[in-house]
Subunit: 282 residues, 2 copies
């Protein structure tokens, strides 16, 4: 956390969609830590950062981001929030983006993780200190054990084991980070659609094969990819994840301990307890 | 194909959903080969077998199936068509099913393939000759090469390679047999929902990431699971698969040569040619 040591420098927050970048800005405010938000257009919502000093960029403006960070005296930078990979053929690149393009296209073939690693390496080569959201906000990483009042049954543990085998395989191929398993049967596997869409489609599966809110069974598991760059793109859950898991009749959610972020932990626990779901770090 | 050698015996067709069991009955009729259909209720449609001698069973009536096969002088048996695994707790089992239950539950933990292997082993222990649909209908297996007038581009081949890495990993974990990849990005991965549902949801993916009917890109790949029991549950495509692949803007469909079945091959080729898709065996 050496980014807090130098009061003359600021933390650059590169913001995608969702709650996490907002939480980061709020954390900086409450810690009186100077920061500057660089929002990615069409992912982050400008209205969420009305009271922050901010600038807005599009995908491909890597050079502009670097200029902004220097201009605003940011020596550390954190990237957070959801971003979908762009269509590289319609991408508008600035000088730095264009210079990076061959490397970007090569990294894109290796998947999201290779792309993010390239971006981090580029920042670091410019002398920036790249940190993770969990370096800024303590208590964001899920610890080992149950978060709320419920925990997995023996059968849930067997489903968690199977789902973790699946997410390890998905991760090593850079496909996705999440899977749903019910009584050893893999109900759904995440690719680009994201966890919420994956959970939503579980509603289409016959209740012969899945649980219901009255008779919960099956688990959602999210784990980081093996060897994943942990400063960005750690698996994340929030209240909505718990709500969707509840609707499709799952018993609970298991995450890799110290390998996933919980957004609004208190609300997540409250929602899970009210619905009778476990949320656990393994 | 020794099942055709004995004119006093019949071929038992255990029929799930879809066209394949119907094609099998038609093939037997046109070859004047005696056969008997055992339809699985709520999967096979009785009206599809109006002009066949048939009986109907539910899941779990393994003993009744064995009795029917003996009574009808079936010495060979073929299992074909879609069947979803049952909910084992609501399963009505007959004597043989009940006797098998511990083995069935154990196999179910190993996935669909373990279940099917157990069923085949049970039939074989009763002296039955279990054959594949492709032993009955020649030309059902896809050969190597392009079926219609289109073939994969170099970029399509790279997507096919990536998708085959994905289906190999899915298969070794007994998750599913199919994946969609577009420009190296894994758009969708099949679990229990089936290939048609997987293709349907690709429509929800941004056209930044996938092709369109005017600008086709990306491939559907289906391959058998490594070590899969090849007499049942080989990957299958038909006209509907091609139609759905066309709607979501894919360039084509690649299957493992000699490892997948094409239902109504002529219609599949005609549909693919009309839409500008390739169908190829690799």
């Amino acid at each position: 956390m050496d980014w807090t040591l130098d009061p003359t420098s600021r933390l650059g927050i590169i913001a995608g969609g969702g709650h996490l970048p907002i939480l980061l800005a709020q954390a900086c405010q409450s810690m009186h830590c100077p920061y500057f938000v660089i929002g990615i257009e069409s992912f982050a919502r400008p209205s969420d950062f009305d009271d922050c000093e901010s600038a807005w960029v599009t995908f491909g403006q890597v050079g502009h981001v670097l200029e902004l960070l220097k201009e605003k005296s940011c020596t550390s930078v954190v990237m957070a929030g959801e971003v979908r990979r762009p269509d590289f053929r319609s991408l508008k690149l600035d000088w730095k983006g264009a210079k990076l393009l061959p490397k970007i296209l090569n990294a894109a073939r290796g998947g999201d993780d290779a792309l993010l690693s390239l971006l981090i390496k580029t920042f670091e080569e410019e002398g920036l200190n790249v940190i993770g959201a969990d370096d800024v906000i303590s208590g964001l990483l899920i610890p080992a054990g149950n978060l709320g009042k419920y925990g997995p049954s023996l059968e849930d543990f067997q489903d968690i084991k199977r789902a973790m085998d699946v997410t390890a395989a998905l991760g090593s191929l850079d496909i996705g980070q999440a899977a749903v398993v019910c009584h050893q049967l893999v109900l759904a596997v995440e690719a680009v659609e994201g966890t919420d869409a994956m959970l939503a489609r579980c509603l289409d599966i016959s209740t012969d094969l899945r649980g219901t809110p009255d008779n919960r069974r099956g688990v959602l598991v999210k784990t980081p990819k093996p060897g994943q760059e942990r400063r960005v793109d750690l698996p994340t859950i929030g209240v909505q994840t718990v709500e969707r898991a509840a609707v499709v009749g799952l018993s609970g959610i298991a995450l890799a301990a110290d390998g996933a972020l919980i957004i609004h932990r208190d609300d997540v626990i409250r929602t899970a307890d009210a619905a009778g779901l476990f949320v656990t770090g393994i």
